[in-house]
């Protein structure tokens, strides 16, 4: 590869890595640059060669979180060669300026595990912006069309794809957080583990253009896009698959190699070659299709898949050319469409289950089973895949529980969280028991006269008063007339109430004044409660005037329960 490019990429990459990983603050700024660049250019975002549009959006936010930690551990060294050759394209200018070559080198020395995590982070970051952008719908509609053109402009981004793939692999657990803002629950499930996988690669490979970005975003955005989606799905899949942090040494090795290979791929076919590498030549059926879009992304995704398969395989090296990459890109859609019939049919299909990226144009909108794509370095056994999906679902739901159960925000880990949940449920159940016992003693006759309650509630509890009022309003029952009594009773009991109590008062006065007399009687004549009870109950059910109830409901205080799903 040309040294110039390589250097540039290296710089970019390093800077990216450096920026991303070394400090969240710096990263956002860098990203901003890159995103700016990206934004400036058209969808193709190929303002400069090797410039990959980076979806700013969430990139900054998300990546900073995830990348920060990972960056340090990440050893950009690996990236140097392949990524440099590719257009990381972040903002070549800005990035380069910020890039610090020294750090990457230092980082490179880091352990392989860290490397992986770093990659993941970057991937997360990288993927983030595209996803965010995709979400905005900017890219999605245009990506397919535009990308091909822009992609073609991109220089070989085999490295890019590879990087993206790697990032997705290494992505830590932030993915779900990052993905969450995108509001794509399904993908969340799949990629929650992967955390910012998707985002990482996206960030990393801004140059890959929207396509890659969208792909990186993977799950969600990819699905939506048509052609690009395919690529994205590929990459997404890769990302997803790669998202899970890879702990094996093997991965590092493969990464390095893939980098190299990616680099080589960069040469001519660029995306395609990358794709070819990644896809492992599995599917080279449709070269043309993926060329444009899939280019980088597809290369990435298949590359990631491939990496999974071939590990340190030199397959990446194969300059399969556009066909391969295209195939790889195509494979994704096919794979996805096929569902999980071909678990091992192609190397790319890493797993029996495919990630169903909805963006696949040809994919049917619904499938009965969940498609999951194995992440890089993970077993492709269908059992483990199912396990992973299940685990991700569980962790996602545990997050909701964390919000619901008070005092669980800092707790991590299933066992402790379950402990808290159990304690909370037990305490709530005990409270119910206690309160029912209390009500049994306080109310010897169990005559819950509603108007009395209403009066009390209004005085002392907004919630109950509103609820009881609403309740009485909602229970339209016709009851025999009741004894008239002092209408002012209830009024007298509303000293200094809030505005909504005024409404309540109105309602009560208008409809329930007769009941007050009954109420008084019941409290004062406990012996004569049989009739009184009925009266009271009936009176309690008298509906307020509709407007009153509406007013009351409108003035109801905000929900008392904060936890709302």
């Amino acid at each position: 590869m040309e040294m110039g490019d390589k250097d540039k990429f290296e710089l970019e990459k390093r800077s990216d890595n450096h920026i991303n990983y070394h400090s969240p603050d710096s990263m956002p700024s860098d990203w901003r640059y890159s995103s700016a660049n990206v934004a400036n250019s058209s969808l193709g975002l190929v303002s400069t060669d090797n410039q990959m549009p980076v979806c700013r959006g969430d990139l900054v936010g998300v990546s900073s979180c995830s990348s920060a930690s990972m960056v340090d551990s990440f050893s950009p060294g690996q990236w140097d060669h392949p990524t440099n050759s590719q257009n990381l394209g972040f903002c070549d200018i800005s990035v380069q300026n910020n890039a610090s070559t020294s750090n990457p080198m230092g980082i490179r020395k880091g352990g392989p595990a860290s490397l992986r995590t770093g990659l993941d982070k970057t991937l997360d970051i990288g993927w983030n912006p595209p996803s965010s952008m995709l979400k905005g719908g900017i890219f999605l509609p245009t990506a397919p069309g535009v990308l091909p053109q822009s992609l073609s402009q991109f220089p070989e981004d085999s490295a890019f794809i590879e990087r993206a793939a790697r990032f997705s692999y290494f992505n830590g657990g932030n993915f779900s957080d990052m993905v969450n803002p995108f509001g794509i629950p399904e993908s969340m499930d799949l990629y929650s583990k992967g955390g910012g996988m998707m985002q990482g690669p996206q960030e990393v490979f801004p140059g890959s253009g929207l396509k890659s970005l969208s792909v990186v975003q993977g799950q969600k955005n990819v699905m939506n896009m048509g052609d690009s989606s395919r690529d994205t799905s590929l990459s997404v899949e890769h990302v997803a698959i790669e998202g899970s942090p890879l702990k094996n040494e093997k991965k590092n090795g493969s990464l390095v190699r893939s980098h190299d290979e990616a680099k080589q791929g960069v040469g001519g076919s660029g995306n395609e070659s990358e794709e070819a590498e990644f896809s492992g030549g599995g599917r080279q059926d449709k070269p043309s299709k993926l060329e444009g879009n899939g280019g980088e992304l597809s290369a990435k995704s298949p590359a990631s898949k491939k990496r999974k398969r071939n590990g340190q395989d030199a397959d990446l090296d194969q300059a399969k050319g556009t066909q391969q990459s295209v195939e790889a890109a195509k494979d994704n859609p096919e794979v996805q469409q096929k569902g999980d019939e071909n678990p091992t049919s192609t190397p790319i299909k890493a797993t029996g289950k495919q990630c169903k990226l909805g963006s696949q144009a040809s994919d049917p909108p619904k499938e009965e089973y969940i498609h999951v794509r194995a992440r890089r370095g993970q077993a492709t056994n269908s059992h483990s895949l199912a396990e992973r999906v299940r685990r991700e679902k569980i962790s996602e739901r545990m997050k909701f529980l964390q919000d619901l159960v008070p005092g669980c925000s800092k707790v991590t880990g299933k066992a402790v969280m379950l402990d808290e949940i159990i304690n909370y449920v037990q305490s709530l159940q005990r409270q119910v028991e206690f309160l029912s016992m209390k009500l049994a003693t306080v109310n010897p006759r169990l005559d819950f006269n509603t108007e009395g309650l209403l009066a009390k509630d209004i005085l002392h509890s907004r919630a109950v008063s509103s609820s009881t009022l609403a309740f009485s309003a909602e229970v339209p029952m016709v009851y025999p007339p009741f004894n008239a009594s002092q209408p002012g009773f209830i009024q007298a009991s509303f000293p200094g109430m809030e505005s909504h109590s005024d409404m309540l008062r109105r309602a009560i006065n208008s409809q329930l004044t007769p009941m007050t007399g009954g109420f008084k009687e019941t409290t004062q004549l406990p012996n004569a409660w049989d009739d009184e009870l009925h009266n009271v109950v009936q009176m309690g059910y008298v509906t307020c005037a509709p407007q009153d109830s509406q007013d009351i409901n409108g003035s109801l205080p905000p929900g008392h329960m904060k936890a709302e799903l």
Binding site: K414, V425, V432, N443, D447, S466, L525, G559, M561
Partner: protein, 240 residues
Amino acid sequence: MRAPQSIKQEFLKKWILGLQLCDFAKQNMSMLERKKAIKLSADIAIASTRNGMTCWSRALVAKASRDYGDKVLVERMLASESEKLKKVSSIGLIAPNKWVIIRSKKILRKSRRARRVRSSVPQSVLAKSIAKKMVKKRTQVLKSLVPGGEFMDDISLIEETLDYIISLRAQVDVMQTLAKATDLLNERAKVQAQVGHLALAAESTASPTARLISDPSEAFFKQTRESPQVTRHQGHRSSS
């Protein structure tokens, strides 16, 4: 997500309905019986707010329906509810085969535990297995807590727990306000009674001789002035 206010309102409505259906006034119930009836109607009410969509609500209704004495109340309460709940109350929650499945799972688990081989495994694996065991134990406990939890898998268990917690909170809130309100009502009644008997005392003092002599209740009233209940009755009697 349902608004908590609407949950509470719906629950209160149904609960009051159920309490009325309990017909407390007619029977001579002990405190425990009353408490049971209150709790039962509260449970059925909160379960019916879910309209049979959630597993725990159906399980709750099914459990309540098992005892014949309660079943009548349950059916009456659910008279206006969706078909699902009615079916549950009549049929029961789980089909027999599900019970078989659960039982066989338990047997499997026990047998696995029996023949576990303590092998020396690397630290990481050991830690993982311990963690898994902990999680498993807690899941078991949670399953026993959530009604109908035995029949759910992990994922739906968590969802049901989420929903159950929300409903429980609404139930507790409403019951608390109701208890508070009844407390206040009683206090107010007491105060009024005292006020009443004070007024009475004022009256009686106005014409002390005749009253004191002729009205035995007055004397009684004076003697028992300290006791609020008595005074209340006195006050009531005098006012009525």
